[in-house]
Symmetry: none
Subunit: 414 residues, 2 copies
């Protein structure tokens, strides 16, 4: 089974946005065991869209088209697919109603142009849109298929996961491809370089070589720590998952506390679980991270059970006045510990977590950019950690946020 | 003159890296006034690389191939181009020497595999490599051309800027095209749906139709508001920019306060500029946004001049105890205004900005998810706005953050 990705949008050709949709879909297809040999981008141009879909269908059994489903005149994916299918467009009144209701729920009238989003090529099936207005489409072309999904990433991801991948796998089985399942699991790590991880895992990689069991890969994408992906191919899900379980155990033994979570589990989710296990509450005091630590804790559903609040003490006076930090330097271990103690006292929690540091670009009071202190206060007892973080202002702030959460995570796990 | 971008690399198909090279090259081509109608990605596969180059050359006069010039066995761009040119590869000893010297300068011997990087399709010209080991190539195919550049972004960018774009523009002139430049500008908007914007701008789009002046497009990428892109093609940069200036003025007249910024300008940048223009300071009190508003303000370089800090009042008690919010419901206009007043008093600023609402997934005290109140306090005078936001918990929090900043932005601009 081969599938291709066709991203539609002149803004992609002009480089105003990067084609992250193709990367995401490509990764999902690989995990699902479906070959993908081409990614293509064309602009909002009917003739070129039609030609690109035909070229893809000549090479592959399926093409996933993302973008061009909006309400405006330059959104013409529906029309282009109809031409490839050699059918007309029919308006689906139930979709019009859905969109009308959606606008109404926001106290707005549906602009007439949105009705275009309810036009469906004859003979195609609709993928219900759960997050936005544009529905997706499953469009048969002979024994092949065109999937149309929105260009908005989170709408696209939800639709591909819920409808497109399952349909592709069903077709693969119908094509007589021996039903095999590929499952993967990602171990999330923090605090080790990729090469250090690779060295620790190397013997395991050799042991697995040609074993037909799991395979391992390192993913350094983004800044949320290095990921170790375990992939297992097996006849059925159950066997695949038991391979993953065994390998996860093996890797956790090798990597120890560097592993903080699995798959989509963020470090804030782990911290939240550890806190609620103890029935503890936390408050945060933030300087250079400016609310990012608090925001990540609030991201966790149910966080109100263990997160009470925090203080963004960006200006030094706020540190002194609200958090009882002694006059003097504010980027040091003493200040970090005072902030942690001050905020847990002010807000009334067992745990206080604090960040102070220099995000840059300029150094501050002779302290280099990237110098960061994390303060921790648990039931009155304070402690702190110093870190030197790389990168620009945004990177130092993000790395500092994760590092602060990791300091608390390791303490709660020890 | 039409050019296409062909990115080579299985890691792109697998989504292990996003195709930022195509975005960058696409932008450079647009600025140079060279049409680019297709971006393609293929893996490290000889047959598919050859087919992709032939398809590109059948549609366009030039194709820029990035990647596959490395020293390893799966770097086969040189071989594929030679097949398309129907010539053999000849080793350029001067390149071998350059690479050998380069390794020597780092006190290393050149691995023999690197000699492959000196293989050049007969009849092609070499683009000197100034940053890495792989040289680039200019490969004539009839009266058309294939450019080969490295996949490493900074090596690729240097080579495209220095050698590829000038060569393309020379060819365009030879083809009798008069020199032209394309410039574009993006107007950032908040508070209107794409279709509502489209309807307001429709008369302008019609007026411009075939005028040879600017063209307009809507970009709904991400959640940072709908963008209206103005693109102008003219003989030189100066004329292109004056077209953009005139059209921006026209659109601002049509769209009014919905336009908050231009190009990369974020709403927090605009708020920061407006505050420092007045010499005002701001503090924020956040409930469901949990620090996201503060974090975005801290993102702005130099924010310490006008942002002092804030309180994350996630737990209701924190709202009552720290911000003097009266006992009773906390998701209402009164609470939002009290939070804004309380935080500006607590931290000592002219302006207090506050958010309270229900992010979901569950409703709270009978209040539906998505219900949001933004409180504002300027020199003691309070005011508030109510919004109903769509989407899941993460989306409501992000939209609520931008909406809160927009409430302050509109007030400061009015």
């Amino acid at each position: 089974m081969r599938a291709e990705v066709l991203a539609v949008g002149t803004e992609l050709l002009l480089g105003q946005i990067t084609n992250s949709n193709a990367a995401w879909i490509g990764e999902q297809l690989a995990i699902a065991g479906i070959d993908c040999h081409h990614h293509t981008v064309v602009g909002d141009n009917h003739r070129r869209m039609v030609a690109a879909m035909r070229a893809s269908l000549a090479r592959s059994e399926a093409v996933i088209v993302s973008g061009g489903l909006g309400p405006t005149q330059d959104d013409i994916t529906r029309e282009a697919i109809a031409e490839v299918m050699n059918v007309g467009l029919v308006r689906d009144e139930s979709i019009v109603e859905r969109i009308r209701t959606m606008f109404a729920s926001r106290g707005r009238d549906m602009p007439e142009s949105n009705a275009r989003q309810a036009d469906v090529p004859e003979g195609s099936a609709v993928i219900e849109q759960k997050l936005g207005t544009a529905p997706g489409l499953i469009c048969p072309v002979g024994n092949k298929v065109i999937y149309a999904v929105p260009g908005v990433p989170y709408e696209m991801e939800e639709m591909v996961t819920r409808a497109v991948l399952p349909d592709l796998q069903r077709r693969a089985t119908e094509m007589g491809e021996e039903a095999s399942t590929i499952r993967s699991r990602v171990l999330r790590t923090w605090g080790m370089s990729e090469s250090a991880l690779a060295e620790m895992v190397a013997p395991r990689v050799d042991a697995l070589e040609g074993s037909g069991g799991a395979t391992l890969a390192f993913l350094a994408s983004g800044i949320e720590g290095i990921k170790v992906r375990i992939t297992a191919k097996a006849a059925d899900e159950e066997s695949a998952i038991s391979i993953l379980d065994a390998e996860e155990q093996e890797l956790r033994r090798l990597l120890g506390p560097a592993v903080f979570g699995v798959d989509e589990q963020g470090i804030e989710d782990v911290v939240g679980r550890l806190l609620s296990d103890r029935g503890w509450t936390v408050a945060v005091a933030e300087s250079f991270t400016g609310g990012m630590v608090a925001s990540r804790l609030v991201d966790v559903p149910g966080s109100s059970a263990w997160f009470r609040g925090g203080v963004v003490a960006y200006d030094s006076e706020v540190k002194h006045d609200l958090l009882d930090v002694r006059p003097g330097p504010v980027v040091c271990a003493e200040a970090a510990e005072a902030m942690a103690a001050g905020v847990s006292k002010l807000i009334g929690t067992n745990v206080g977590l604090a960040t102070t540091g220099v995000a840059g670009p300029d150094s501050q009071d002779g302290v280099e950019p990237g110098t960061v202190f994390v303060g921790l206060c648990i039931d009155g007892a304070t402690d702190s950690a110093q870190l030197q973080l790389p990168g620009d202002r945004a990177r130092v702030r993000s790395l500092g946020t994760i590092s602060a959460l990791d300091v608390l995570r390791r303490r709660l796990q020890s």
